[in-house]
Subunit: 385 residues, 2 copies
């Protein structure tokens, strides 16, 4: 009875003009869908992934896929994003390495991987490519765009850039821009990749990339996705129990072997050059860029937006998430803020399933026409056990 | 009229037994002093430096030394640590690279730098070596031990390990142990050094060390020494104004060139192997290690201790600093907590001079016998403009 989720490919019919100039000649987006598009084509939900995520947001790809998609507890028949009612789409971003065009793709003119000749793509470009995909599926207006982290920034960008194409935007742990601390950590991660001799100025062969450097970048990121409190709770100062990879200064503490494991895991599945491009896209994004003012940008929004801050998030601090909601409200928009109380830091949108399900259900129910008064998430704080 | 501060060297008369086993055959400590030891030898203050610090806490070393010592605003004639009244000593830690025995020192038996054959030294070992220095100067009891960060942890270790030798301990931004987040960042910094091909398993020649890797480690550390707020205030998302070192993904933002500059600067003055050993010593320190219990360790203290937490410190969070003071008080000790309100994060003890001067003056005045009631720092919070 199990239906497997299948990766599909969309080839943009035209070159994609880029936000920072130039164009990408040929662009492919890898995507997956769940549920059926309604005859009125008004039930589509676009799900947008985080930095190293992919199109596999839900379901299983086959019998070996025991883990399922990264938002699987949220998406499916009868789930919060109910695929009995909604047509859910998730596409891998351009610049990525999981089926969409990125630096590991073969350049038309050279017949070799782009590597560093790939142009710097931005959040704006990712959204523009997604728009082409959505249009190609016959959808003029999305019922909802949603995502966390840079996926949330893409949802915000959709609401600003294509106001007529978005009915609702549900944004987790994302604000209009990141701060200098996050930019600094991204720069250090890139520095680690480029320091690895296997990087070879980006011209490494497939499977021979800078795994150690990419692993270090991942370790830094993994710390920023968690919190002091969650790391104390999970690792404390426990001595190492399962050392990974011997090294002269390797692994006295459990947290060190955990990070090592995380670094090795990402290096197995992710392209180092993609990591360089995508973290830079994260640095560069500013929702206001290209507009006269913040008011000019935000006043374009017509979607009902819900902004979910995570109490212990220090990569996209809750106060910044809240500030966007407040600015939209001040402009008369139907925008609300909701705080997810969690010790899990930025990653809470991938961990706190009970709270996430409640938030999504409530938001989705409000997108649907129904009787009754306003249900009040604005001041609600869901505590998570 | 200017008197220059001179680096002196103390050679331990005997091998130094080490906390984690083994011994260092020959140990030299580089140190500097200011002021004169009183005939009663009761006016000595031992100042202990942070991770990459050195013995040059005060004064100038010569006409080219325009910057002065790292605590110069606090130490000198008429200053908070008044060298007209006190004899101030600061020594470079063992494991370091600024005159004291460390991995760059020549091993007796091999005639070559120790490099990775240097044993893992600990905070306990650093303090034991300092104790030998202090005793050699004819001092049985220090009027005060003081320092910030791992210097503060050394001050705490002095108070626990040598209760009869310490009248007072003034501890800035330091607690009984660091947490898994800080351990993780240290491990990543070490990983960057060891990834640098110039590291050569630690066997690099002088001046040919892994500068890029050490620079990356420094960049991570520099972020942990600051705060979200201070980085927003100082760098925001300003574009780069003075790019340092070209690179394919180099420096779009001001914060990136700042970090690059900090990395390059440390690599010029610091030994990468020392950085490996000293960060590991920071990870390993737990004030309770070797005692039956925390109560067993802390109940040894006889000094009047003052613990200064920094409101925006996330490397040694203020709550952890306060917890140590509270535990000591609960054991009937003369221990107080004071919070330095600052946006500058951990580094505030090297930046907030006005508040630091007030704290040191108040603490020192209380060490001296005088009439009058108790002056209340415990609940005081100094705001800094």
């Amino acid at each position: 009875m199990q239906q497997y989720s299948e990766k599909k490919y969309f080839h943009l019919p035209e070159p994609l003009p880029l936000w920072r100039g130039g164009a990408l000649e040929t662009v492919t987006l890898a995507y997956e869908t769940w549920g059926e598009l309604s005859p009125d084509r008004d039930n589509a939900i676009l799900v947008l992934h985080a930095l190293t995520g992919d199109s596999h947001a839900a379901g299983r790809r086959g019998p070996e896929d025991t883990k399922g998609g990264w938002w699987d507890p949220l998406i499916g028949p009868g789930r919060a994003f109910d695929t009995d009612r909604y047509f859910v789409i998730c596409s891998n971003v351009i610049g990525g390495c999981q089926g969409s065009t990125g630096p590991a793709s073969i350049g038309l003119s050279t017949g070799r991987p782009y590597a560093l000749s790939f142009p710097q793509v931005t959040i704006q470009d990712m959204v523009r490519a997604q728009r082409a995909l959505v249009t190609s599926l016959g959808i003029e207006k999305l019922a909802c765009v949603t995502g966390g982290s840079i996926g949330g920034q893409q949802a915000l960008e959709w609401a600003i850039r294509y106001p007529d194409a978005v009915e609702g935007a549900l944004i987790f742990g994302a604000s209009e821009r990141i701060g200098p601390q996050a930019i600094g950590f991204n720069a250090i991660g890139r520095g680690a990749i480029m320091l690895d001799p296997a990087w070879m100025q980006g011209a490494y062969e497939p499977e021979q990339g800078p795994d150690v450097g990419l692993g270090l970048a991942r370790k830094i990121a993994m710390i920023t996705y968690q919190s002091q409190e969650s790391m104390w709770a999970r690792f404390g100062r426990e001595p190492v129990s399962r050392p990974v990879a011997p090294s002269p200064f390797g692994q006295e503490f459990d947290v060190e072997s955990y990070l090592e494991y995380q670094g090795v895991s990402l290096a197995r599945r992710f392209d180092a050059n993609s990591y360089l491009y995508l973290t830079r896209a994260m640095d560069l994004y500013d929702a206001v860029e290209g507009f006269e003012s913040e008011e000019d940008a935000l006043s374009r929004v017509r979607a009902r937006t819900m902004h979910v801050g995570i109490s212990s998030d220090w990569l996209y601090p809750a106060a910044d998430v809240q500030a966007t909601a407040q600015k939209l409200r001040a402009l008369g928009k139907e925008s609300r803020y909701c705080e997810l109380e969690s010790i899990h830091g930025h990653d809470a949108f991938l961990k706190e399933w009970e709270a996430m399900i409640r938030i999504v259900r409530e938001y989705i129910s409000e997108l649907e026409p129904r009787a009754g008064g306003e249900s009040g998430c604005t001041r609600m704080r869901w505590s998570v056990g």
